[in-house]
Amino acid sequence: MNYIELSYLDIALAASLLTVNAGLSIYYRLGTAKRLLVAATRMVVQLTLVGLVLKALFHTVSPWLTLLVGLAMVGFAGREAMARQDRSFIGFWGYGLGTTSMLMAAAIVTIFALATQFHADPWYDPRYAIPILGMILGNTMTGVSLALDRLLAEADNGRARIEARLALGHTFREAMQEPLKSAMRAGLIPTVNGMAAAGLVSLPGMMTGQILAGVDPVEAVKYQLLVMFLIGGGTALGVFCAVMIGLRRLTDTRQRLRLDRLRVE
């Protein structure tokens, strides 16, 4: 494979584009300059560290170490998903809901992909497992946090609607039909939009990266399709799981709407 190796100067030049962004923010007093700076710095530090960790990890092909890194990634994703919600459950489920759903969805899809399409040997080879898990998690996280945010917001804002149905003797499931549909849709929109626009509007990041790195476009497309399907499956699974657990936590054995279990930021 022949590809143009990047120097650190090249990356610094690309980063300078962000200063345009920051300048606009300061000029129009959007108040995003600081956030932008923090986010960019976080990205640089995180990715640099990840590069080093991955390099070390790929050298020692250990199932336990791979598992540990995978779990840590899920843990961070869970925290990030919670931070993106305006409302969350009080106590363990505030963090546990998104994390459990993502853990389940990402584990199933990653192991499925490793065992069937990639024929990695050994199957837990971190060189395959970690990047796949990362990609699935990143997208599932967006879906799960959007879906939960929508579910909890609709339950909270729609209290009169929901309790009117409960009072008339509808089951909790019936009373939550609209919020449920709306939450599922919200969680799946980024995936659906991503699939619909792929290739026409945007060249997906992974494919672009591969092409820039010298891979034949047709091969890159095949990889991209595979990844999109894995992401779609993982997100749908994670969103479904999160919404279903969320629905259960919003009620109790007497089919009440338990908004007292929510915390509004």
């Binding site: 729609g158 009169a160 009117a164 009072a167 008339l168 007497r254």
Partner: protein, 198 residues
């Protein structure tokens, strides 16, 4: 007979009350004194302790949705979950028979909910609960948004239902309404329910 034993929850002190069939009781009291909380607790819409039974059947022995179908709470602010009025009614045909009596003209069932005034919503929310033939109606200020004429229509219909054996527990700010509607009158103060001397 609706039997309530030591029903309590936050704010609400234990309430014990027996209401036989065909009786309406009225509860008055300042805002925030716990009147609505009591109605919600009877309908099992909030976690609470104590025992409630209807005609000898314990509430806990019944699925929550079955209980609420028999003991139906009508909130002061009505909730509407789809666009069309008629879609909120389990039996639109039965409901249609009552519309004129409640002061509606024309085909209100096909209207969008957004077209309804507050008073119209209040009457329709009551009707929506009533046509499901509950044994008990828990009414939270059922005529607060109505003019005297419409209030009279609602009260006349409720009287008819009471005579037919339904039990009503009604929260109202209107002393006149309490006198017109109920056999027994209560007052709620800081979560304590006490009977008024008649």
């Amino acid at each position: 007979m609706l039997k309530i034993e030591h029903l309590s929850r936050a704010v609400l002190k234990p309430v014990s009350l027996e209401v036989p069939a065909g009786i309406c009781v009225a509860i008055r009291g300042a805002s925030g004194s716990g009147k609505s909380l009591l109605l919600r607790a009877i309908a099992d819409l909030d976690p609470c302790s104590g025992r409630v039974s209807l005609d000898g059947t314990e509430r806990s022995a019944m699925a929550a949705n079955d209980w609420r179908r028999r003991v139906t709470y009508v909130a002061a602010d009505s909730g509407w979950w789809t666009d069309k009025v008629g879609d909120h009614f389990e039996y639109p045909d039965i409901a249609a028979g009552y519309l004129v009596r409640l002061g509606f003209h024309g085909d209100v069932m096909s209207w969008p909910v957004s077209r309804l005034s507050t008073g119209e919503r209040q009457r329709l929310a009551l009707l929506r609960a009533m046509v499901q033939s509950p044994r008990v109606l828990l009414l939270d200020e059922p005529t607060s948004a109505l003019d005297p004429e419409a209030t009279a229509k609602v009260e006349s219909l409720l009287h008819e239902k009471i005579n037919g054996g339904i039990i009503i527990v009604m929260v109202t700010h209107d002393a006149g309404q309490a006198a017109r509607m109920s056999k027994r009158r209560f007052r709620m103060q800081d979560g304590v329910l006490s009977e008024e001397a008649s």
